[in-house]
Amino acid sequence: MFDVIFLQFLNGLDKGAAYALIALGLTLVFGTLGVVNFAHGALFMLGAFCAVAMRMLLTLETVTLDPEKLSPWGTPLEVREPLMQAWLGDFGAVLVNYSVPVSLLLTIPIMLLVGIALERGIIKHFYKRPHAEQILVTFGLAIVAQEVIKSIFGPNPLPQPMPVELRGAADIGAWLGMQANVITYPLWRLIYFLFSAILIGGVFAFLQFTTFGMVVRAGMADRETVGLLGINIDRRFTIMFGLAAVVAGMAGVMYTPILPPNYHMGMDFLVLSFVVVVVGGMGSLPGAVAAGFLLGILQSFASMNEIKAIIPGIDQIIIYLVAVLILLVRPRGLMGRRGVMEA
């Protein structure tokens, strides 16, 4: 039984890492700008499609027809020559193999620009408008983003292979000195977990240990006073929005080998990430991370057959159920500050 529970726990951590990462960005935006951003899922999706675009670039091919040979249906055989390997040789092959991590390099500047443009162009006009209108405009933006992606990349998911070396499962049991071949888990999912942990740690360190972060935290606590001190807090908040977009985008990139990206993946994650944020407490960064892992683990355990036998369908609703309970009993969430959005 230990192995089953351990595996399920691992699965919960793995799911939780994805939830925490996407909720973190959402909370950054809400905490700093006070904006309820329904387009955050779309940023996650855009990041994933950066990886798709990168792979498309890396796998460009020249196609020549060989009239000598015929395909089984009688047309001349197409001979494809991958460009990257032709130009760069083995290094090109390595690039193609590692296209997903490599595309992080492309994603960071793109998402930063997207985030800043979004904040300067539209979001900034909504700071003073009610939350309902913020929700509506960002919901509209999310629709536009997903439809643009759909018209460029088509409606079908585009599977992104993970590097060959990282396929398959890792024998964690053996690493920990237990019996081999009992506790195994997909290697890429472990990498995703580590990646999330590092990214989350990075964001916290950035806010905690840099002057920039200190000012932003001060601004989150009391925007007016910081402004009175002569600090241009608006510009820093713009950068924070860009940063949130980068975090969402990087999360999206690394998630592509697990889930082939499609245009509506943003919307699928959006509801979930909002639930995570309210469970953690609107505006609380540690809350978002804790709630992400908590909900991931709960969902994983709720999917166990033993649990489902007791409460049928619990795996389908556990996350929403927790959110409802938290909102009704403790509306500021697990770690929210008293008075923030409490009503």
Binding site: E133, L328, M341
Partner: protein
């Protein structure tokens, strides 16, 4: 008359009635005069009117109204299966059961306001959807959708009539309800729904709701307990959604769980905002626009576009076809999203505000006489 209804209200109702009843005529030139689409116009207009009673009047933004719509549909089909193919018991069940459901969800969700209220309704609706899709399969038939079968008991019908061959279809007091008969049935319900919404909006109850929207705290200070009023608005709005769901089941007796998904809830939000939240006609117009685009705009293909742009030189017309084809056909949702964003940014009052602004342009003399608060109805949700 004046004690019952103001002259303006009466004119609006009469105008609305005429417009709805003649829809098959004036929509035919636009390619939308066929019953299936007309029924949807009526049904989704009712859905949006009901949503507006909650959102437009009280400012509470629910992201879970599709759940009541779906419950109404399931209730109606079960009434067909168990009792009778008649539309009236089906609608009665749809409204009553969705009202009970709304009472439960509203009672819990209204303990919070603002974004928390939105998330609570969203969570309840997603739970309903996920359950309907999985473990509630014995009731909902899951993904396949609940539909009529030959083996249904239909207690009342079988007691009264000899069963005919094949699957029966919904009736109204013995009259078959399909095609245009169904449309006029839906149209009649739409007019009644509109009339009721008009009465609610003008009543002291409606005033109270508007007061809650503009400042809930102040209402508290004046000694009002606002909860019963918002809950009543929530339940009424849920009943409208249930009625609309029941009607959709009457014109096509099959219910899939998809109609409870949160994107379906989002759609009614889009309709209401697009047309103009807080106005009577706005949600109806929004619903019609979206359903029209969904059915007609989405059917425009490259051939039609090529004909449209054919007056331009070859290269230019090809380019225009290329560009515009991204916005019609499968891409109609992109157009909708763009229009929606523009409306939220520049025209928060929706189409109705646009109409009023244009009208004001032509009537400069009356502009100054208009009370300031009417010039720009700004949806201010309770925080």
């Amino acid at each position: 008359m004046s004690t019952f209804m103001s002259r303006n209200d009466l004119l609006l109702l009469i105008g609305f009635t005429i417009a709805v009843l003649t829809m098959p005529l004036w929509l035919a030139p636009f390619g939308a005069g066929y019953p299936d689409l007309l029924n949807r116009f009526a049904i989704f207009a009712i859905f949006a009117i009901g949503f507006n009673i909650l959102f437009g009047l009280t400012g509470y933004l629910s992201f879970g109204h599709a759940a009541f719509f779906g419950v109404g549909s399931y209730a109606a089909v079960w009434s067909f299966k168990l009792l009778s193919m008649d539309a009236l018991p089906a609608l009665l069940f749809a409204v009553v059961i969705s009202a009970l459901f709304a009472l439960l969800i509203g009672f819990l969700s209204l303990r919070r306001s603002g974004i928390y209220f939105s998330i609570l309704t969203l969570a309840f609706a997603q739970m309903s959807y996920n359950l309907a899709y999985s473990v509630l399969t014995p009731i909902t038939n899951g993904e396949t959708g609940l539909q009529l079968t030959l083996r249904d008991p239909r207690v009342l019908d079988n007691a009264l009539f000899e069963a005919g061959p094949g699957l029966p279809s919904p009736t109204l007091l013995g009259m078959p309800l399909q095609g245009f008969e169904a449309f006029y049935f839906c149209a009649a319900l739409l007019i009644v729904a509109f009339f009721l919404a008009q009465r609610i909006s003008g009543s002291p109850f409606g005033m109270m709701l508007k007061g809650i929207k503009s400042n809930q705290t102040r209402m508290h200070y004046t000694g009002f307990n606002t909860r019963p009023y918002t809950l009543a608005a929530f339940v009424i709005s849920g009943m409208y959604a249930g009625l609309a769901g029941g009607m959709l089941a009457i014109v096509d007796p099959l219910v899939g769980a998809e109609r409870m998904q949160w994107t379906a809830s989002g759609e009614v939000v889009l309709m209401t905002i697009l047309g103009g939240a807080g106005t009577l006609l706005g949600p109806v117009i929004g619903a019609w626009l979206i359903k029209y685009f969904e059915n007609i705009f989405s059917a425009i293909n490259d051939v039609i576009l090529a004909r449209f742009w054919s007056f331009l030189p070859d290269g230019v017309s090809d380019a225009m076809v290329q560009i515009t084809s991204k916005f019609v056909g499968d891409g109609w949702f992109l157009t909708l999203g763009l229009v929606f964003v523009l409306i939220v940014i520049f025209l928060p009052g929706g189409v109705m505000e646009g109409v009023r602004r244009i009208a004001d342009q032509f009537r400069p003399s009356r502009r100054s006489g208009r009370p300031a608060n009417q010039a720009r109805p700004h949806p201010r949700p309770a925080e």
